[in-house]
């Protein structure tokens, strides 16, 4: 049996984009909630607004994460080891 510990660094990425009707501006939204408006022709930055989401899926519930990684996952792991031993 191999046990792998994976450490994941999730980089930023664009979740959606849209042009204005004239086709000279583009609004892009990144996964952390930054909306950025730039010029299509020159690629120059115009404006950005940080929506302050703490996670790419929105507000990250750290409590669920702690419960899973600290309490549930070790129990599952211990259970699997016990089954394998017997």
């Amino acid at each position: 049996m191999e046990i792998h510990l994976i450490n994941f660094y999730g980089d930023n990425y664009i979740t959606d984009l849209d042009f204005n009707p004239n086709g000279d501006l583009v609004a892009t939204m990144d996964c952390y909630g930054t909306c950025l408006i730039s010029d299509i022709n020159t690629d120059n930055y115009f404006f950005h607004l940080n929506m302050e989401t703490s996670h790419e899926m929105g507000k990250y519930n750290i409590e669920i994460s702690i419960i899973y990684f600290v309490l549930i996952l070790p129990c599952i792991s211990a259970f699997v080891i016990l089954i394998l031993m017997y």
């Binding site: 191999e2 994976i6 664009i14 299509i40 940080n50």
Partner: protein, 131 residues
């Protein structure tokens, strides 16, 4: 994740496929003839992740294409699609009239602006592999 977008008044359909951390691709189909779909353009695949692997400890640093998104402006006949995280905000394609021959053309790549969020999401998980 795949997305299909109609290019109005051209009889064209754009299919954008994103495999979050692996790759993204864009294809354009001519559906103007009834019952026929003809592929007229295929964008080269944008590769996504790079993986540095060590024994029993994997550090996974991704260069993601994300879930994508595509938008079309009929006034200028331009399509924006296929972002690459940290590198390219979007690829810009131009749709020409059929008499020009080359219907779809990549006309630019928008740079990644420094104003985008720089925070990194880090999480851990383990998996078991039984031999």
């Amino acid at each position: 994740m795949s997305q299909v977008k109609e290019i109005k008044n051209t009889g064209l359909l754009v299919s954008v496929h994103h495999n979050w951390s692996v790759s993204a691709n864009l294809e354009v189909f001519d559906v103007s003839r009834k019952g026929q779909a003809r592929k007229i353009y295929s964008f080269e695949e944008v590769s996504g992740s790079r993986i540095i692997e060590k024994i029993y400890l994997i550090i996974y640093s991704s260069l993601v294409t994300g879930y994508g998104g595509a938008t079309y402006n009929p006034r200028r006949s331009i399509l924006g699609a296929i972002p690459v995280g940290g590198k390219i905000s979007y690829h810009l394609f131009n749709f020409c009239t059929p008499k020009n021959g080359n219907l779809v053309k990549l006309i630019g790549k928008s740079r990644w602006h420094s104003q985008y969020s720089t925070q990194d999401g880090i999480f851990f998980f383990s998996y078991w592999r039984f031999i």
